[in-house]
Structure formats: C-alpha cells, structure tokens
C-alpha cells in the first residue's frame, strides 16, 4: 500500500472518530432534559417499574393538568408560584437594566480615578455566595418587614443582577464608536439626546440580552429565595419545586412536569438572544 493511501485512510478514520465523539457529547448534553420531559408524560407506575420500562406504553398530560388545577398530590399552587416568579423576575430585570445602563455607560465613556478598582469592587459583590448573604439579609428583612414580600425579593435580585448587567452593557457601549455621539452633539443634540437617539439604539440588542441574562438569573435563583420567602404570597418556582419532596417520598412525575414548566420560558429566551450574549461578553476579551 502506498503512503498516500494510508494517510488518506488514517485521516478518514480520525474524522469519523471525532464526529462520533461530537455526537456522544451532544447526546450527553441533551439526555437529562429529554429524560425529564419523557417522565413528566408517563404514569408513576411506569417510572417506578422494575425492571425498567424503556419504551413508554402510554403518554398523557395528566401531570400538567393536575399541576395547574392544583389538585395534584398535595395540591401545589403552581400558578401562584409562576405568578410570583414572573413578577419578581420581570421587575428586578427592569430595575437592574436601568441601573446597569447608567453604570455601564459611566464605565464605557468616562475616565476617572480608580476605574479598574471600582469595576472589580462592583464585580466582587456578586461573588458573595447567596447562602452567606441570606443570613444577614434574613435578619435585616425580618426587622424591616420585607420577609415573604415581592418587594424584598425584587430588591435582592436587583442587587444580584446589577454587577453583571454593568459588565455586559459596558462591553456593548464600548462597541459603539464614540465619534457618533460626538457628531450628534456637534449637530446640536444635548448629551442626553445623543444618548437616546444615537448610542442607545445601536447598543439595544446587547442591552436586550443583558436583560435576558438578568431575567434568567432571577428566574433560576434558589439560595436566597429559599430563606427569604415563606408562603404562597412570594414563593418562586425553584422554591416551589421542593414542595414535591415530602418527608420520605418524592412525586417524581409532578416534579418533572414542574421542571418542564420552569425550563420553557428560559429556553425560548436564551434561544432568542444567544448570538448577542456571547459577542457582548467577549467584546472586551482582546482590547481590555
């Protein structure tokens, strides 16, 4: 066999091996999610079956019906949790976007002393573990009467989201050339007008993805919510998920169904902004 032929064969073999590796990796990424969806659709008997039933005999939406009508095992008020989650996540996202825009603009457009230090300082507030922060917040909130209220959770999540929103939005404003706003100002705009008429529209896709990131953080957060909420008046979905675990038994099917309900909004939103998210976070990668 001549050398050319072996080389070609070898390359084809590695090609195949790498494609198979990619396929397996993607399967591992998808599998847990599909497993959850599948189990939310089949009866508990089948989930518990020994030996395992691999191909479901019947599929039904009973788990979802039970969940939303509140008559499932234990009658968990999913609709109420869903509403709380929505209110808290949306409000805190809006507020942290407003704060993040002003902060990000300051970092992108002004020079001031200790700029790097301020930036790092703001980021480090995000590094405080939720559970560690929950201890003093719990005490303070109990004093002020914010425990188990929407306002308390909104405030906490706003603080959680601000550092990251600033980082993202700073990156997006830096991609907008300074000259554009300056040209607008020479043409007679005030700085305020130049911002809203020129810079904001250009950075808008980025700001939208920062908002979605903030929304997802609030939507998914558990450590703070589990301590600062008490009842149906403010419990969010991640905390509600634990309602399905009773003392010794777990309603696997119900939990799977709730998991699917939680993941769908996140899935749609992430899909919508994926492109901007990555470009925004890496825009500062090379020129710091």
């Amino acid at each position: 066999m001549d050398a050319n032929k072996t080389a070609r064969l070898k390359r084809r073999a590695t090609n195949w091996a790498l494609n198979i590796a990619l396929f397996i990796a993607m399967a591992i990424i998808c599998l847990p999610g599909l497993w959850i969806v599948l189990n939310s659709l089949r009866p508990t008997v089948e989930i518990m079956a020994k030996p395992p039933v691999w191909i479901p005999n019947q599929l039904s939406f009973d788990a979802y019906r039970d969940m939303f009508s509140g008559i499932g095992q234990g009658g968990i008020p999913v609709l109420q949790y869903f509403r709380n989650s929505m209110i808290i996540a949306v409000t805190s996202t809006v507020i942290s976007l407003a704060i993040g825009m002003s902060g990000g603009y300051a970092f992108a457009r002004y020079r001031f002393r200790f700029k790097g230090g301020w930036f790092l300082g703001l980021m480090l507030t995000r590094a405080v573990p939720g559970i560690a922060l929950s201890l003093p917040l719990f005490f303070l909130y109990a004093r002020v009467g914010l425990i188990d209220t929407h306002a308390g959770m909104i405030l906490a999540y706003t603080a959680l989201n601000v550092p990251f929103t600033i980082w993202l939005i700073d990156g997006f404003f830096r991609q907008v050339p300074k000259d554009l706003a300056e040209a607008a100002q020479i043409d007679g705009c005030t700085r305020w007008q130049a911002f809203w008429q020129v810079e904001f529209p250009l950075a808008r896709p980025g700001i939208a993805s920062a908002g979605i990131f903030a929304f997802l953080t609030s939507w998914n957060e558990f450590a703070l919510a589990s301590q600062l909420t008490r009842s149906t008046s403010s419990k969010t979905l991640p905390v509600g998920l634990l309602d399905y675990t009773a003392e010794f038994t777990i309603d696997w099917r119900g939990m799977c169904a709730l998991a699917v309900v939680m993941i769908i909004p996140a899935l749609l939103l992430t899909y919508a902004v994926q492109k901007h998210l990555v470009s925004g976070l890496t825009s500062g990668a090379i020129k710091g």
Binding site: L18, N19, L22, I29, C30, P32, G33, W35, I47, P51, P52, S102, A106, F112, W118, L120, L122, M123, L124, T125, A127, V128, P129, I131, A132, L133, L135, P136, L137, L140, L155, A156, T158, A159, V162, F164, I166, N220, F222, A223, Q227, P238, L241, W252, M255, C256, M262, I263, A266, T270, Y271, V278, S279, L281, T282, G284, A285, I286, K287, G288
Partner: protein, 298 residues
C-alpha cells in the same frame, strides 16, 4: 453663578453603588459584627454580646468544618479543571464540524438555561439507586445486577455531584472558547503549518495563547457564581447522609437555620465569602495578564 453639580460619572454610578451598598455591603457589615457575637435567632438581644474571636476559634478547631472546607475546595478544583478541559475539547469539536454549526451551538447553550436547582433535581433522579436512569441502564446492559447506591455512599455521591456540576457548566467554557476560535485570524495558523509545526505545536503555541483571555472570561464568570453548587448539593444530598457530602455552604445553612446559631454561621460564611472572592480576584488578575499578552503578541 453656576450651581455645583455632581460629576457625570459619579451621578451615573450612584444608583448601582447605593443598591449594592444597601443590599450587599450593609448586610455584610452586619454579619461581620454578628460573627463576633453568640447571636441566636431565638434570642435577639444576644447580638449585643461581644465575644471577640471565640466563634472563629471554635470553627478553626472544629474537624467537621475543615472537612467541609477541604471538600469544597476539592469539588471546585476538580469541577473547574474538568469543565475547562471538556469545554475546550467540545469547542474544538464543534468548530471543525462543517455542517449544522448553528444548531450545535444552540444545543451547547442548553445546560446554561437550567436553574441549578433543576440540575440537582434531574441528577438526583438519574442517580437514584432504585429508579434512576444510570442504574437502570447499567442493569439492562448487564454490567451489574445490584443497585449502586450513588447518592448514599459518600465517595459515589461526590462523583455524582461533580457530574451534575460539570454537566451544567462545561457549556459556559465551550461557548466562550468557541467564540475565541471564531474570532481568531487564520493566517498565523497557516504560517505555523507552513513553517513545519505539528498540529500539537500549532495548538500549543499559536491557538491556545489566543484563546486564553476567552477561557479566563469563562473562568471569571464561573467563579463569580461558584456558590451555585449549593443549590445542586442541597437538592441532591443536602450534605447527607450523615455529613458525608457536606460542603461549606450546606454547613452554613444548617448551622444558621436548623441550629439557629447565626453568629457561628456568619463566621463560617465569612470564610466562604473570602474563598469566593479569592477565586474571582485570582481569575480576574489572570484575565488581565492574558489580555496584555495577546495585545502584545497579535
């Protein structure tokens, strides 16, 4: 006469600073103070007793605390390194795929959308010794006929938790490194190949240095949020059975809310906070260095 006004950057940063001071800084000062007191939730006036460093002395001589601390550091080291290596591999695999890149990237994003609490629940389900996917598959394929106690044995539980953690966060690394690969100019690679570099040399000396800042951005973002492992562990094992998977964060939660010993828990929390901050600051510094390197070389 002109009225004195705030400089614009101060005015712009003020809202962020106010919110963070009120919701993060002030509570942290309070918890710093209470870590020097024997504060218990059930007896609010104990917050005024100053006992100096007694809480700290007690946790530093406590074996359970050090075991939890060691386990936390081990978990983070193993998980972050695995995520980095797997993420790099995944990014390289996706980059060389000729078709369906868009779809592959969307799938890559998939684990990022899962809330940590969901990741924990889903792996608790899969690793369940009786009805879980992992044991069912192993039994159906005939590798074993026993139910492997994934979440009951301490060592196996550690593996299960690491798997969950790696599954949920490898994507972050893969996505950022992929972004780096896409942004990379082609000529240096071709030049290296023409100059006779092996593929490994090309990767080691040309591609990797360029990818470094991207990898460190991913690292920094991850380390900002390392404590989200708490959610995963909380739902998978809750530190149990008998403290065999206890990490710093579950220990804090237990001390504070089950035992109601807030002062003690706050002392532990400070150790956890310093740990997170050390991780973040370290990677932030590395990011700066890698950026400077790339700026100098390219």
């Amino acid at each position: 006469m002109k009225a004195w006004r705030l400089p614009p950057h101060v005015a712009l940063l003020l809202p962020a600073v106010i919110v963070l001071a009120a919701v993060v800084l002030l509570p942290l000062l309070l918890s710093l103070w209470s870590s020097f007191t024997p504060f218990r939730l059930t007896r609010p006036d104990t917050i005024y007793d100053f006992i100096g460093l007694r809480n700290y002395r007690r946790i530093f001589t406590d074996g359970d605390f050090w075991v939890a601390f060691g386990r936390t550091v081990l978990l983070l080291t193993v998980a972050l390194n695995l995520e980095m290596v797997l993420g790099l591999g995944l990014a390289l695999l996706v980059e060389r795929a000729s078709r369906g890149q868009r779809m592959l990237r969307t799938i890559l994003m998939f684990p990022m959308m899962f809330s940590p609490i969901l990741v924990g629940f889903q792996f608790k389900f899969m690793f369940n010794d009786n009805i879980g996917l992992v044991n069912n598959a192993l039994q159906s394929l005939g590798f074993t006929d026993q139910a492997i106690p994934w979440l009951i044995d301490g060592r196996l539980a550690f593996i299960a938790i690491t798997t969950a953690e790696v599954w949920s966060s490898t994507a972050v690394f893969a996505i950022f490194i992929l972004a780096g690969l896409m942004a990379m100019p082609r000529e240096p690679i071709e030049a290296a190949r023409v100059d006779g570099c092996t593929p490994w040399q090309t990767f080691r000396y040309v591609t990797w240095p360029f990818l470094m800042p991207f990898a460190f951005i991913a690292m920094t973002i991850r380390s900002l949020d390392v404590a989200r492992a708490y959610d995963i562990i909380k739902i998978m094992t809750d530190g149990g059975p008998a403290g065999r998977t206890e990490v710093l964060w579950t220990l804090i939660a237990r001390t504070a809310y089950s035992d109601a010993r807030m002062g003690m828990a706050n002392a532990m929390a400070y150790v956890a906070i310093l740990l997170s901050i050390a991780f973040t600051a370290f990677f932030f510094a590395q990011l700066g260095k890698a950026r400077a390197q790339v700026a100098a070389d390219w």
